[in-house]
């Protein structure tokens, strides 16, 4: 009896709300999104205006966070960088989940040979790490956010597809799909109007989690100099630009950008995992 009560209590608590961590995460994400939208407009100074005589100067007057290694206003660069960083990650997550859900639904629908072939191709793709693909993409398309983003998206597709394919297969096997097939519904209508909406909660959760991964990986790619190019403001680029400051004892440039990334990634991942848990729970 005690086990049963405990089960009910934990389940109710899980469903009842976000909790302190959840609300904090939501607040962090809200601030980050707001910054991405209005940051580049509201920034107090030109993020690219360099004055080497102010290099690595700390907080000074209205320059709340001081200056970076090239004498640019740090706060302005963080605010302007939010847009590049978040849109880059959003692009990766969007491409990965759109392609992933498409592959998942199509393979689940046709099954058999199509499914086996897709599974084999995905197994091969699993072998390529995102960073490696990004290096190759940079070599072919030239370094930049687009080539890095595309490479990462391709690298994430197998992960997204693996999760979504399981859900789509389960949904495909439900008798309501068979009933609607007997009604004469087209495969198109069944997939778009019934299969896809019924796994949408999981798709959104996967997208959120992939967004977090993408921020970290894009920062790493920027650090290698293959992603967003300096002087454009971007949190990953700022970590990279702050390298010399780190060695000279002025860690603020790298550190502030890193804190932003870690905060947003932690918040997004936490929310994504909660969404995923909820999506899976409601499926049972």
């Amino acid at each position: 009896m005690s086990v049963l009560t405990l089960d009910i209590v934990t389940r109710r608590r899980r469903r009842s709300g976000l909790g302190v961590l959840g609300w904090t995460s939501l607040a962090v994400v809200a601030v980050a999104v707001l910054l991405a939208i209005v940051g580049p407009v509201l920034r107090p100074f030109d993020p690219n205006l360099a004055d080497l005589s102010f290099a690595n100067v700390g907080a000074y007057g209205s320059h709340v966070l001081g200056f970076d290694g090239q004498g640019r206003d740090l706060l302005s660069r963080l605010m302007a960088g939010a847009r590049t960083t978040l849109t880059g990650a959003a692009f990766v997550a969007l491409v990965a989940i759109v392609a992933g859900s498409l592959i998942a639904v199509v393979t689940a629908w046709f099954g058999g040979v199509v499914d086996a072939f897709a599974a084999a191709v995905l197994d091969v793709l699993f072998a390529f790490p995102g960073i490696l693909l990004a290096v190759v993409a940079a070599a072919i398309l030239g370094p930049g956010l687009l080539s890095a983003g595309l490479a990462l998206a391709v690298a994430y597709i197998p992960y997204v597809t693996r999760v979504l394919r399981g859900a789509a297969l389960k949904e495909r096997a439900m008798t309501y799909v068979a009933a609607l097939e007997v009604q004469g519904f087209s495969a198109w209508r069944l997939c778009l109007r019934h299969l896809l909406p019924n796994i949408s909660a999981l798709i959104i959760a996967q997208g959120t989690i992939m967004f977090g991964f993408a921020m970290v990986d894009l920062a790493a790619i920027s650090f290698l100099g293959l992603g967003v190019q300096s002087p454009q403001a971007d949190w990953g680029v700022m970590i990279s630009d702050g390298k010399s400051g780190l060695l000279q004892g002025y860690p603020l440039e790298s550190l502030s950008a890193a804190v932003c990334i870690v905060a947003v990634v932690s918040a997004v991942t936490f929310l994504g995992e909660r969404l995923e848990a909820r999506a899976k729970e409601s499926r049972r």
Binding site: M174, T175, Y176, A178, A179, L180, E181, V182, Q183, G184, F185, S186, R189, R193, H194, P197, N198
Partner: protein
């Protein structure tokens, strides 16, 4: 019978690998009549239903419904939809057979939109009539499946099947998952619908009481093959084949003792 059968099945066969699920099955179903397909689990009953509605492809044999062959996959959307207006099915599990995101009204409306060019008002009227027919009230037809009981869901599944106004309705253990009093309600609904619409039923069941209540003829299947075929009343009162007698004897009634039931020669394969 003077008229052609509404559904004619000849020499139907299906195998999954080495396992023969259905072997040389033939029967006729006439307008307004009901046929039971009886047998224990794994006897191939459900495979028969899935072949008739086109979810499985027969290895051999023909299925002719309303004068048109349907033993091959439909070529194109028009034929697929026409088949949907000829034969419909209600599945066993009322919990998996409805899209969890659609209320009954939305579901029936979508089926009507796929099949006809009715305007919104006409679709609403037909949806209301179908809800009345299966005994769902205004609140229930507008509720999501998770807010409905098993019996109400099964009524909704029946309404969905009837939305295309089919000539034949297959009931694949459709009342087996419901408790006895709800089962009786749903069976009454089905009997009323048959009287009102002149629809033919194929009732797939292992429940002989349900079979006796709803059907005129019966086919007894064992391991994919027909062992006995005839009018339901005679078949149940005076079974000729030992397997039919065994099925009869397995029904718990007054004085029933487990030890008295005959065991089939080999354990049933599923």
């Amino acid at each position: 019978m003077p008229e052609d059968p509404i559904l004619a099945v000849r020499g139907l066969r299906k195998q999954f690998g080495a396992h023969v699920a259905v072997d040389d099955l033939s029967f006729d179903l006439h307008r307004g009549r009901s046929l039971a397909v009886v047998g224990e689990s794994g006897s191939g009953k459900t495979t028969v239903a899935r072949m008739i509605v086109g979810l499985e492809r027969p290895a051999a044999g023909t299925i002719v419904a309303c004068g048109r062959d349907r033993s091959r996959p439909a070529r194109g959307g028009a034929e697929r939809k026409r088949r949907g207006r000829e034969v419909q099915i209600v599945f066993q599990d009322p919990y998996a057979s409805l899209d969890p995101r659609q209320s009954g009204a939305v579901l029936v409306d979508e089926v009507l939109r796929v099949h006809h060019d009715h305007d919104a008002a006409t679709r609403r009227r037909i949806t209301g009539e179908l809800a009345d027919l299966v005994g769902l009230d205004q609140r229930q037809i507008n509720a999501l499946p998770r807010d409905l009981s098993g019996g109400q869901r099964q009524r909704l599944a029946i309404a969905r099947a009837l939305a295309t106004d089919p000539r034949v309705l297959i009931l694949d253990e459709s009342v087996a998952a419901l408790d006895v009093s709800i089962q009786a309600q749903v069976l009454n609904v089905l009997a009323d619908i048959r009287d009102e619409r002149g629809i033919s039923y194929i009732l797939i069941s292992h429940d002989l009481a349900v079979v006796r209540q709803l059907t005129d003829d019966a086919v007894v299947m064992r391991k994919g093959a027909v062992v006995e075929h005839g009018p339901t009343g005679r078949l149940l009162d005076d079974p000729q084949h030992p397997y039919t007698r065994m099925l009869r004897a397995s029904v718990p009634g007054p004085g029933w003792k487990p030890a008295r039931t005959l065991r089939p020669a080999a354990p049933p394969s599923s």
